[in-house]
Subunit: 286 residues, 4 copies
């Protein structure tokens, strides 16, 4: 079914060397071509698994496999943001919200998946743009969340938030998280946000340490346009981060516009995938 | 436009006497027939405004006006639960989330609304059923929330929750709130839940004082079937309440099934209605 | 050192039968006399361990051992509330905040403790009185917490709270928890309260699902007198519970007065006792 | 009684010009000498109120008056940190937690205070030291709080916290607040901490957006030594702030040691001062 598979890892790739080797051996034994990213390519050379093609993921691939953890899945999602290639995650140890194939059961799971026995789970991504003095100075994607937060200062930032052009609120806070359902179990949860079912067509806005205690998380329609205006001249600086990567340092009066991206991420899970069971395990419920 | 209007109040109707009289005089002067509920009928007699018809709301009415506050709106919603009659709320004092016409601006607002200048805002309701030993022993509606909670005991209850037949979690808590977007600014907010945009097609499950601190509020698709099973024989009792009214005392192994009701509540607002502005005012934002 | 030891269990005593038998055999082999409570006495008879004395704990005892869990410790604390007898807790399974000797290491721990190798940890208790129409109608002790909460109703109660005669606040809520440091890891934690170091001379007042979101937990001096007045005639009922036992159903205008009790509970721990390590284990930190 | 009074303001001093002029006229008419800080001195020159002495606060002063708001009070507390000079706060507008004399009642309040009719309220301060490779590289005071937080990165920091030499926990979070009772109504409250009565001899440790949801605020004895070790080499940077001012950028393995400072801040309040009433007003209770 899948004939050419991208392999994606990250900085900590050395920790997944054994898993990567097992994955490659399994795929090659099933006549699947692999297209490693730079991290995987280096590990392959070191392991004597031959030179990689000059292609880089996801060129021409019909599946991508991320090996690492949820952080690696975010990196993979970024690579795939504008493609339509499904993504499978192999965890290097602990179970992840996104990477749900355990390293010690790679082969049985891959066998099933190559055999077409899997479920697909479409997740939407976020698009964010920064407008400064009428011009778009940045455009970026996020799978989990877009965060506007204080940066390099120990003071609150003042943020005005509009939903579909209507003022929601002006608030002073450490920042605000705009999260997709996928991101609701990541940083937004630490900030006091609710858990959103992955398939929910909604965004959640979570203020970070707001000065006004009644500034609670708000869940809005997934098709909304959210606009956050960075306020007051006395504020030194704020920054914009997408999935934990610094996208830009913001200036006063910058407008950050967040909306659902038109392309989705297609996650592949083993057939017996159960998101609630992952929640129970990860959050130590019961 | 509206020719026959139901008037709905509640226990504290005496506090709204002046407002009620103003509403009736205005409606009669515009040749609108009024159909008072028992509370309004008594006030009308006391005020010498003539005998009421023998009909009771919402029979044959094309609009209902609730005079009181959000509690009165819940009562009105219950009366209208199975009808398709729009509902307008006049507040006796403070602004309400639902009753958003202030008592001191009744006439100008009614004039506009009779003139067709209003916005309609459809809200879904919840239906809940209790199944005991295979039989449905109770069925009820709720506009805000369905709550399963400990009752007459100072111990936690054990609740198993299923969403669309899949186990979400077993938890020990004081109880659990299943709230519509409308109810998200009511008791669910006190319990730590997020605010849901009124038009969002979602339910929020909010545990009340859960023993496990990571048992956070969860937002799920509005078309889900939620099933809560009351657990463990050591538990004395739990109760079910709908919009704050006691619906039933529950027994161990009772299954409470909650899903969206097929009929909606049609709220009528003044033309300049802005839900975010009500949130800002009621929650003292900024 | 300890010559006569009270043995205390509870309703679920059968689950601790083996542990109890091991404790009794160990103590008798060290010439320590045991004074069982009714639950332990029944188990002893069933296990053929001889008739109990007619005395009941803690008469003439120089130590009490509670076998069960934190609930059993609360029961033991209640029995010892007015005595000066130290208390040791053996856990039937999972680690407890209070009962910190694991069932599978009873003998080595008891050997050390009989040998004088232990640490003592004094905890204060709460005293609460209910005054109705100028008379004290109830007086009770609590080790963890005193709770004034709605009872048998689905509405908020209105509570006025005074600290040392000064109004702290009037609030509408499901209730309020007045907790000792010992109780801060029990129900108060589920209600959103902070953790208090056991030796801290402080009380924490935790509102339960308060209507006003800024009604946050408040930590006050341990020597304060807290007075909670149950409000408004429209409220049907509220109840007072001490350590989860129902002490009294309250009436409107009842005044509940809570202050530190003059007698303390003396907990005995193994020498290597570390409260922070119990916190880390119980709360799954890291 | 008070013969020489320091006048302290801040960056936004222009907003308090009128209040400052009123204060100076009142004090001079009562033969009190004023010692302005640089901000007040500039305003005095502009207002033609004469040249200031060359002294700067609090040299030789027996009282300090801060004019501005709680931010100005923090600045004043920093100036007075090592002196024994009492401090009075005049608010430029809204009521403050610390500056509790309203601008529109300056003269009547000052008259009473000069007449000896006031209450004194001693608050403790925090001292913090940074140890790096065995050397103390920084020492600083804080009235509200010491914060160790991520800096210039969008990742969690890893912090190990010890209380009196015992490990409390290792946590991953945006940071941690160590707050005095005075600071408990400032940033710590936004972070989810409890309110501490001002006179309580306690510190509160509030994790900021901790990854582990059960990492709750902890209240410990005021005489504890808290030590926070900045962890893991993968972390880029963290910073230390005292009362919102950046004290230092931290490095991996830096040890931040926080304990109560031996000198206190002596706040002066009008005779009818009531902290609970300030809480009710500032937090919109009821």
């Amino acid at each position: 079914m899948f004939k050419r598979i991208a392999l994606i890892s990250g900085n900590h790739a050395a920790e997944v060397r054994d898993t990567l080797v097992a994955v490659i051996r399994f795929l090659r034994s099933h006549n699947v071509e692999v297209v490693p990213d730079e991290f995987c390519a280096r590990l392959m050379r070191e392991a004597g698994l031959g030179a990689a093609t000059s292609a880089s993921p996801p060129a021409g691939c019909d599946l991508a496999i991320a090996i690492g953890g949820d952080g690696t899945m975010l990196r993979a999602a970024r690579l795939l943001a504008d493609y339509n290639v499904p993504l499978l995650g192999i965890n290097r140890g602990r179970l992840g919200f996104l990477a749900d194939i355990p390293a010690d059961a790679v082969e049985s799971n891959l066998a099933q998946i190559l055999d077409g026995q899997y479920v697909e789970d479409e997740r939407f991504q976020l698009n964010c743009q920064v407008e400064r003095a009428g011009r778009t100075v940045l455009e970026n994607s996020a799978f989990n969340d877009v965060i506007i937060q204080k940066w390099n200062i120990a003071k609150l930032v003042e943020l005005q938030t509009f939903v579909n052009g209507r003022l929601l609120h002006s608030q002073r806070a450490d920042g605000m998280i705009i999260s997709s359902p996928t991101g609701s179990t990541a940083y937004a949860l630490s900030g006091g946000g609710p858990i959103l079912e992955p398939s929910l067509d909604a965004l959640v806005l979570v203020p970070i340490c707001p000065h006004t205690l009644s500034n609670r998380p708000i869940v809005i329609d997934g098709n909304s346009t959210v606009e956050v205006v960075v306020g007051t001249p006395e504020i030194d600086r704020a920054s914009l981060t997408c999935d934990g990567d610094i996208a830009s340092v913001l200036q006063t009066n910058d407008r950050v516009i967040i909306r659902k991206k038109d392309k989705r991420i297609r996650l592949i899970h083993p057939r017996n995938h159960d998101h609630f069971s992952i929640l129970r395990a990860k959050l130590h419920w019961g």
